[in-house]
């Protein structure tokens, strides 16, 4: 039996369409919901976690309707997108309280909470008020409350939002590890390269519809077939632009000395990144920041849906 089944599910918010005739079946391992803001990812997550009812169609989690259903909720762990915690509560108290709602006694809740907080490296701050936690700590606390009762289905809504590079790496490793244990994991993101690090299975969403589902590398190939835009922040934009002009994969390049920025288009992104790393090492060119607007899914979907 699939952990999650959606059959022709639509969801309207008044006259606004949140999700349109979605069919989906998820088994064990990590599956990523990938799509830009407004794609319907959070709506789908709220339907699966039993916070919303579908306007039409069927949602089944472990074979049951999840809406306000305690027997389904017993098998769920949710990392919500919301950045909310009760005021004046410590991390341990919060996890303990939520564990008690799963029916654990106070002693067992306390032990499980301590163990889980240690697992997510919050044991040293477990008794501090959550209001004093950093963004990364709060994100790890959200993960702790979701996994403390060892759910069969872990749902994470944009779990990497606001994390620093180290925090992202850790969160990705936890998510992968949870999936490798044979649990089902549903994770939403709008950043493609982060999803690639977590799983190969993706569900591509846009404007409330599932555009494609399957292997992430197929999607990556689709993207790489189109010119790839890269923006570089450097104190020497003119020198960097001159060096990059010799690279045959560059389709266009522009720079601004005022903004200390170089922007280019390439059809060979992998080779370009390799070249840039070599330039930085050999020519001692400083690059403060590298962003690829094309990794933002808005651009990807433009490629996919526009002729």
């Amino acid at each position: 039996m699939s952990a999650v089944e959606l059959q022709s599910v639509s969801r309207w918010y008044g006259t606004v369409l949140g999700l349109s005739r979605v069919d989906l079946s998820l088994g064990s391992g990590v599956t990523a919901l990938l799509g830009p803001n407004g794609a319907g990812k959070s709506t789908l997550i709220r339907l699966v976690s039993g916070q919303l009812r579908p306007s039409s169609g069927n949602v089944r989690v472990f074979g049951e309707n999840p809406f306000a259903n305690p027997s389904v909720a017993a098998h769920l762990g949710l990392v919500p997108e919301e950045e909310g915690f009760p005021p004046r509560v410590s991390g341990k108290d919060w996890v303990c309280f939520l564990l008690r709602l799963h029916g654990y006694g106070s002693t067992e809740s306390s032990q499980r909470a301590e163990h889980t907080l240690e697992e997510v490296r919050l044991d040293t701050v477990a008794h501090r008020p959550v209001s004093t936690y950093s963004r990364g700590m709060r994100q790890r606390l959200k993960l702790a409350q979701a996994i403390a009762h060892h759910p069969d289905l872990l749902i994470l809504d944009e779990p990497l939002a606001g994390l620093d590079p180290v925090g992202r790496r850790e969160m990705i490793d936890w998510i992968k590890a949870w999936g490798n244990k044979g649990h089902s994991v549903l994770v939403s993101s709008h950043i493609l390269h982060e999803v690639e690090l977590m799983t190969r299975e993706i569900v591509l969403m846009n404007q409330g519809r599932v555009l494609a589902s399957g292997n992430v590398h197929d999607i990556r190939r689709l993207i790489d077939a189109h010119p790839h835009r890269v923006r570089l922040s450097t104190p020497t934009p003119k020198i960097l632009a001159a060096q990059l002009l010799d690279f045959p994969g560059i389709r266009s390049i522009s720079f601004s000395e005022e903004r200390e920025q170089v922007e280019l288009e390439t059809k060979e992104p992998e080779r370009f990144y390799e070249l840039l790393a070599n330039l930085a090492l050999e020519e001692h060119i400083t690059v403060h920041e590298m962003t690829s607007p094309d990794d933002n899914l808005e651009a990807v979907f433009k490629y996919l849906v526009e002729p």
Partner: protein, 266 residues
């Protein structure tokens, strides 16, 4: 019964009570409930310095109870605690954690309402008792002893009244987005105005039944013109209990059917 109340509902009730107890709201509401006590202190000081006061200690307590504690303090307490039991969780962003746990919505809200109601009573009753002792104790132990049954009845009426108001405001809190505004209009608009409207209208207020239960005989005589015809004690208790049960049940029903769409951003 287990559908409404079980060990998980008790956990929610305890958590709600503790979190509310140490909240800034409780500091504010404790100050409000101490207002009748402050009036009693002023009354005692005035009597002690020889100013002419037209009430006995117990008479003063009766007036404060009937004009401040029951019509103002009790509904304010209920309004500011009960209307927030769902809205506060939504504003704090903690509802998704609660509604995705293996506890029925019925038990979740029952636990929250029980914790909130227990705190309201725990704040109101000490103020009532303190006001009584400050006002009456200087008249001697005999006076305190003879008036104690009245205080006990006041406490019972207070619990009934707070439970009725709590149910109303808990229902408003689960059904409306701005329950406090509607609650304020109910208490200070509708109830205040209905008291002065002759006939049936005043029977549509909680205050009408509460006032009729207040065990202060001298007061009933003095204010009977204003309050109008009093319902029997049995009818008043029955109506208050019905209001309390019905409104709490409506709140639970509204919460059970509620969907939580968050910011609906995606």
């Amino acid at each position: 019964m287990s559908r409404f109340w079980n060990s998980r509902a008790a956990v929610v009730a305890q958590w709600t009570f503790e979190k509310l107890l140490w909240s800034p709201r409780t500091m504010v509401m404790a100050s409000v409930t101490l207002f009748p006590v402050a009036l009693a202190v002023i009354f005692r000081i005035a009597a002690a310095v020889g100013l002419q006061v037209s009430f006995t200690g117990f008479g003063f307590f009766s007036v404060v109870t009937a004009t401040v504690s029951f019509p103002f303090v009790a509904p304010m307490l209920a309004l500011f605690y009960s209307s927030g039991i769902v809205v506060d969780e939504a504003e704090n962003g903690t509802l998704p954690y609660l509604v995705t746990r293996p506890i029925t919505r019925v038990s979740l809200l029952a636990g929250k309402m029980a914790g909130s109601l227990a705190l309201q009573i725990a704040i109101f009753l000490p103020s009532l008792v303190l006001c009584f002792y400050v006002a009456v104790a200087p008249s001697g132990f005999q006076e305190v002893g003879s008036r104690f049954p009245t205080l006990a009845l006041d406490a019972g009426v207070a619990i009934l009244g707070i439970a009725a108001y709590s149910g109303i405001f808990a229902f408003l809190g689960t059904a409306l987005r701005r329950p406090v505004l509607v609650g304020l209009i109910f208490v200070f608009g509708w109830q205040a105005a209905a008291t002065y409207i002759p006939g049936f209208v005043r029977k549509l207020t909680v205050a009408h039944y509460l006032q009729s239960l207040l065990p202060h005989e001298s007061l009933q005589g003095a204010l009977s013109g204003l309050w109008g015809e009093r319902p029997s004690a049995l009818l008043a208790v029955s109506v208050l209990l019905t209001i309390s049960l019905m409104t709490h049940a409506l709140a639970i029903l509204a919460f059970s059917r509620k969907e939580f769409a968050g910011r609906v951003s995606s």
